[in-house]
Symmetry: C2
Subunit: 348 residues, 2 copies
């Protein structure tokens, strides 16, 4: 059995209350210098560490925060977006000496027991929810519960719900405008899983909005419903190429699908960007020189963690929502540099 506060008290010849005061440095000015010294020595000698369970039971604080993320096929941290967000979270709570409790949630089985148990068990002081599905019982459970939480990459029309997100709409608008400036008019779009990702939905809306605004025809067949996998990006390409009126550019809702699209195009003997421009979203590491929209995922994780921490520690909240700017990163696959080079050639 581990050393308890009682053991320490006994050995020091004091009461447990005094030991507790020393351990927690609370009301420490009330403890005699000598007593404190003696207790501190015995603490080390015995190798005492407070039992988190007992302490948590009493104080209702655990210094744990839960991180929930969602998956289809299998839980995976290998996703660059996810691991970057998590890195931000880890960075913040590393400083604060909190523990991170990971919990994953299958979108297939949708077993609520897993997270309701997590929400209500008193195991964590708060919850960080990464990219939850658009509609879910989850939110109701969350709102009903007393546990503080912050949503990541999921904006919601509710003053009271804390979240961080990037400016998805702006990112897509920038991309479309950039492609238009390169002369494209027939711009196709590969969507994500719109029922499961608010980001995906917001980006799709943005695409429709800006196409219309720019006077470009929005056509059903120019939107393909993908699922965030490279494979679905490839399927989108196959579908687009079958059209009578083929697109000259493709925007993918995320980089994975953009990568899949490029691979398929090349497999079919088409060149990117000469024969087809391709743009992505997220700016994940890749050697394909993808033109894409960058979002500050690490910072978003960090700030979400901070917002949650403020709630937990009852600090005044500076803001309930936090939007991070996106940035269009122009590389090779949109054809910008190709066009530039061609223009230069013509001059000569």
């Amino acid at each position: 059995m581990a050393i308890t506060i009682k053991d320490v008290a006994q050995k020091a010849g004091v009461s447990v209350a005094t030991v507790s005061r020393v351990v927690n440095q609370k009301d420490i000015h009330k403890v005699g210098q000598k007593t404190q010294k003696r207790i501190e020595e015995i603490l080390k000698e015995l190798g005492y560490y407070p039992n988190t369970m007992a302490r948590g039971l009493k104080t209702r604080r655990t210094y744990n925060v839960g991180v929930v993320f969602f998956w289809f096929d299998k839980p995976s941290l290998s996703d660059p977006y996810l691991s970057s967000v998590l890195d931000g979270i880890l960075a913040f709570y590393g400083e604060k000496n909190y523990n991170i409790l990971m919990n994953t949630f299958s979108l297939k089985t949708q077993n609520p027991g897993i997270y309701t148990n997590f929400i209500n068990s008193g195991l964590v002081d708060g919850l960080l929810v990464i990219a939850p599905p658009v509609e879910s019982q989850f939110f109701q459970d969350l709102k009903q519960g007393a546990l503080p939480y912050v949503l990541i990459s999921h904006q919601v029309n509710d003053k009271d719900v804390c979240f961080v997100d990037c400016l998805n709409t702006q990112g897509i608008i920038d991309t479309v405008e950039h492609l238009i400036s390169l002369g494209h008019k027939k711009i196709a779009y590969i969507s994500g899983r719109n029922e499961y990702s608010k980001n995906s939905l917001d980006r799709l809306h943005a695409y429709k909005y800006i196409m219309k605004k720019k006077g470009l025809p929005y056509r059903e067949e120019m939107v393909f419903d993908g699922d965030f996998t490279p494979e679905s990006g490839g399927k989108a390409v196959d579908a687009f190429l079958k059209l009578k009126n083929k697109p000259t550019a493709i925007i993918a809702c995320d980089d994975s699908m953009a990568v899949g699209a490029i691979r398929e195009l090349r497999r079919l003997g088409l060149r990117v960007p000469e024969d087809m421009a391709v743009c992505g979203f997220d700016d994940i590491p890749s050697d394909l020189n993808l033109t894409t929209v960058h979002q500050p995922t690490h910072q978003m994780g960090y700030e979400a963690a901070k917002m949650l921490w403020n709630q937990i520690e009852k600090k005044p909240l500076e803001y309930a929502h936090r939007f991070f700017p996106t940035r269009l990163v122009v590389r090779e696959t949109c054809g910008f540099y190709l066009k530039k080079a061609n223009a230069k050639d013509k001059k000569h």
Copy 2:
């Protein structure tokens, strides 16, 4: 305040003991059918969830396992090796309905308080330790404590210490032999941080061993001490190219450094593999067509998790150590296919 067992008992007109029996399905045959039904209904109606802290305090079980990993500059899950191992761990404990508690440990500050607290606080039922430093107070604390643990990617000469690892030595031997078969004799090596990574150390030893065994001269200057970053791979190349007696092939202790080496070689106008063959270790996703050694990281995480679980649940342990085979994955950067193509050309 959350619903407690007392609330349920009151509403059901029974004692807390009876409710407890129903909740835990323990001695359930002693509870009357009707009583059970009634309690179960009220349980749902009230939305009761047992308090983990109280339960943990009583039972000494938390259904949490801790995962510890180590870092230099900042904690990062973006490392493909790490995220893959974690995926394996998540996959296993997802099935078992355990929670994962992440804790990171800085190799710079080496503050032991962080993990000793973690070890002794009763917060977790066991510990998974990923790629710990070669020598550390950590191990002593671990051995002294009563907490079950399993080491990942760290083999140790101790029957009682559980670990999983891949056959690092075999991986390096395969690589060297493969390069020799392609005609290479001057094979340089980029090492990792040998004080902090047992894998790195084991691989270096393997390199020295096989070079000697094959009658190839081992020269100090042919080994460069890197730090697992692409940058250090680049520096290694710079150093090797300054030598009078330049290598014709480079083996890197991990893929990151191999990638860095290739980038630097190309930057300097050298071709890979024509002018220099390069091989890595780990088989991380990359578009460089790297010849490398694959290790089943996901499976290793999964099996380590299983070993720990067996300990926690007091099941008989099948084995304390588990070694996973490596597999040389021959792609472009070693020059194998180049040679093959050349040979074919000559025939004609």
